[in-house]
Symmetry: C2
Subunit: 371 residues, 2 copies
DNA sequence: TTGTATGCGTTATCAT
DNA sequence: ATGATAACGCATACAA
C-alpha cells in the first residue's frame, strides 16, 4: 500500500489548523475545538465522525503554543537541575520524565551548570514559557529563588534539598535511615573507627541531615566502642584529605578497624584518588561505604560498598506529587522519604577471620555478588 | 532601601502585558512593540523614555509564547539525545547548551531513553513547539526520522552519527584519526596482538568508521607484525566476551603482547567487569586503550588509557553550525571533524624493560600524570 | 447540539 | 513617527 499524500492544508502556513479541519468537515471552528476537548459530552455522533475523518485526512494536530496562549496552561513541567553532569541528578530526572510523560506532561529542563546565581533566571525563563509547575532539584541558600517560584503562583516540589522558608512538597532519600544502614553494616563487620567525609556542609540540608545522623549513630553506639568524626572535604584540598586519611589509618587496630563513609559519589571519587596516591587498598587499609552507587563502584579495588538511592522512585514521586497539585490537591506540604538500599562489596568486608556476628542481613539490605 | 511594590498590572492576568505598558506610558501597543523590537530606528527620544520607564515600573517582560505564536519562530532549539544516561551525550549537550545560550537561544531537550522508535514522536513534539532547528545526537537507522525533520522544513545538524539520505551539517570526532592515535600508541609500546571490541556495529556510522579505521591500521602495519581482530560485544553475552579475552591472551607473548581497544565507555565497563571475573589486571595480562575518558578511568587498576573526545567543542560546534543556518547561511552540508586526545595511563604502559622506541610522543598526544 | 464572536499577548500592515 | 487593526491558532461565553 502506497503512501497517501494528504490533501494540502488550506492555510498559508505549512501545518493544518483548526480552521482547515472545520472547513473540510463543513462545520465551525468551535465544533472542532469541542471535538478535541469535550469529546464525550456535547457532540452529535454523525458530525463527530465528519470531524474525525477530516482531522485524519489533514493530519491535523493542535498547536500547543496556541493552546498555551489561550488556556494559560501549557502541560509543561519545568525541571531545574543543579548540574546535569551529576549522574544522580540525571537518574532522578529520568524518573520524573517518565512519570510526567505518563501523565501527559512534557518536561522542560533547565540546567544550572552549578551556577546557583542563575536560579532566578531559570525560574523566570521557565515561568515565561508558562510551565504549569516546578520540580526543583536544587536551591541555593537564601530565599531568593524561593519566592521567585511562589511569586509566579505555581506549585513546586523540592527534591533532595529542602528549604525552610518554603511551603512545598518535598521528596528525597531517607537520609537518617540510610546513614544507619551504612554505619550498622560497618559496625557489624568490626569497623569501629569511623570517618564521615562530606562536601562542605554549609547549609545544604542533605549534608546536614547525613552528618547529623552520623553523629547520632556514633553517640548511640559509643558504649559499643564506636568512634566517629566528620571531615569536610574541599574541592582542591588534597593534602588535607590525605592527612585526614593518614590520621584515621593511624587509629586503626586489629580489633578496631577504621572505615570511611562518603556523602556522595563526588567525594567517593576524591577518596579513591587519595587511596591510590597513598598506595592503599579499600577493605585492607581502610574500610569503605559510600552514598550513591555509580556504575564504576564494582570496578575499584575489591569493589566499593554503596548506598544505592532509589533515584527512579524519587523522580517519579516528585513528579507525581506535583501532578496531584496540578489536579487541584490542596492541603499542607507533604514529605516523601524513600529508603536507601545497601549494596555490599569488598570494601567493607569483615576481617578475614573475625566477625562471628549476624550472617543474615536485615531485610532492607541486599547484597550483590562480586563480579 | 526598601522593596518597592510595583504598581499592579491592569490586566486580569498576573503578569503585565504590552497593553498595560502602553496604557501606563500613554501610547499605543504598537509603539511599545516597536520599542521592544526596532529600538534603534523609528523612535522619538522623548516617547522612548516614557515607554522605558513604564516597562521598568511594571516589571514587564514579553511573553515568549505569544511571541512564538505571532512570529512563527520561538528562539528554541530542539535537541534530541539517544540516552541522557550516557555521560558522553551529556557532555555534548552541555557544550551545545552553552553555545545556544550565548546566541540567545534556549534548548528544549528530548531524551529518547534508547527507544529509537520514539524518534519521530520526539521530532514532531519539538516541531509543534515551534523550535527553530534541531540538533540530533541520535538517528536510528532507516530514513524514518530523517524526512520527519526535513518535512518540517527546519534546519538540522547531526552529531556523532551521520546519515546518508540526509543533507545536513555533521559534526563529530575524527574517528579515523583517533583510532590511529590509539593504535600507534599501543604499537609503539610493544603491543602487537590487537583486539577491537565494539558494540554491535550494525549500521551505526561511528562504529563502522572506527572498526574500519582499525582494519586499515592493522593492514598498514602488518609488515611490522601487527595483528588485529574485531569483536562485537553483545549486551549480555558475557561468556562470549570472556572467551574472546582468553583467546586473545593465549596469543600474547613477551615480544608480541596483546591489547584491547574499546569503542566506547559502555564497552569499557563490560571489559573491566570481565577482567575482574578473570582475575586479570590491565597492563599486565592485557593492554588497554578505550574510547571516551570517563571520570573513573584513573581508578581502575593501574589507570585506563583513553581517547578523550572534545565533547564540549563538538556540542558547541553543532550548535554554532545550526545557528549559522538559522541566520540564513546557505550552501551544501558541511562536516566538522574534531581531533581526539590520547590520555596515557598505566593500562598501556610499555613492557617494563622493553621499548627502546620513541620517548617523545606525537604532538596531538598529551599524557597526564598518574594520580 | 452547533455557530458567532471575543480574548490570550505579540507582531505587522496598514493608515495617519 | 505614531496609532488603529488584523492576524497567529485555539478556547470559550454567549446566542441560537
Amino acid at each position: 500500500m502506497g503512501v497517501r499524500i494528504p490533501r494540502p492544508p488550506l492555510s498559508s502556513s505549512g501545518r493544518a489548523t483548526i480552521a482547515d479541519v472545520a472547513q473540510a468537515a463543513g462545520v465551525s471552528k468551535a465544533t472542532v475545538s469541542r471535538f478535541l476537548n469535550h469529546r464525550e459530552r456535547l457532540l452529535s455522533p454523525d458530525i463527530a465522525t465528519r470531524v474525525e475523518t477530516a482531522i485524519a485526512a489533514l493530519g491535523f494536530s493542535p498547536n500547543p503554543v496556541a493552546q498555551t496562549l489561550s488556556r494559560g496552561r501549557s502541560r509543561l513541567i519545568g525541571l531545574i537541575v543543579a548540574d546535569i553532569t551529576n549522574p544522580y541528578s540525571v537518574a532522578v530526572l529520568r524518573g520524573a520524565e517518565k512519570a510526567c510523560q505518563d501523565a501527559g506532561y512534557l518536561v522542560m529542563l533547565f540546567n544550572l551548570g552549578n551556577e546557583y546565581g542563575r536560579e532566578r533566571e531559570a525560574i523566570n525563563a521557565l515561568a515565561s514559557y508558562q510551565v504549569d509547575g516546578f520540580i526543583l532539584n536544587t536551591l541555593g541558600r537564601g530565599a531568593g529563588a524561593v519566592d521567585a517560584v511562589t511569586m509566579h503562583g505555581k506549585p513546586a516540589v523540592l527534591v533532595d534539598r529542602r528549604h525552610d522558608g518554603m511551603e512545598a512538597d518535598f521528596v528525597s532519600l531517607d537520609n537518617v535511615g540510610a546513614v544507619d544502614l551504612a554505619c550498622s553494616h560497618l559496625r557489624e563487620g568490626g569497623w569501629r573507627e569511623l570517618l564521615y567525609v562530606s562536601e562542605p556542609v554549609k547549609d545544604v540540608s542533605t549534608r546536614r541531615e547525613r552528618t547529623g545522623a552520623f553523629g547520632e549513630f556514633v553517640a548511640t553506639h559509643a558504649a559499643d566502642g564506636v568512634t566517629g568524626e566528620v571531615f569536610e572535604c574541599e574541592e582542591s584540598a588534597t593534602d588535607a584529605l590525605d592527612d585526614a586519611l593518614r590520621a584515621l589509618h593511624a587509629r586503626s587496630t586489629k580489633t578496631r578497624r577504621a572505615a570511611l563513609i562518603t556523602g556522595n559519589a563526588v567525594v567517593t571519587l576524591r577518596i579513591a584518588a587519595a587511596m591510590t596516591r597513598l598506595g592503599w587498598q579499600f577493605g585492607r587499609e581502610l574500610g569503605f561505604v559510600g552514598f550513591d552507587d555509580p556504575e564504576w563502584a564494582p570496578l575499584v579495588g575489591p569493589g566499593l560498598s554503596a548506598i544505592e538511592q532509589p533515584t527512579d522512585a524519587i523522580g517519579r514521586g516528585a513528579a507525581n506529587c506535583l501532578i496531584e497539585r496540578l489536579r487541584g490537591l490542596e492541603g499542607p506540604a507533604r514529605q516523601l522519604m524513600l529508603p536507601g538500599h545497601l549494596v555490599v562489596r569488598g570494601s567493607s568486608a569483615p576481617a578475614a577471620l573475625a566477625a562471628p556476628t549476624a550472617s543474615a542481613t536485615p531485610s532492607a539490605v541486599s547484597s550483590t555478588a562480586l563480579p
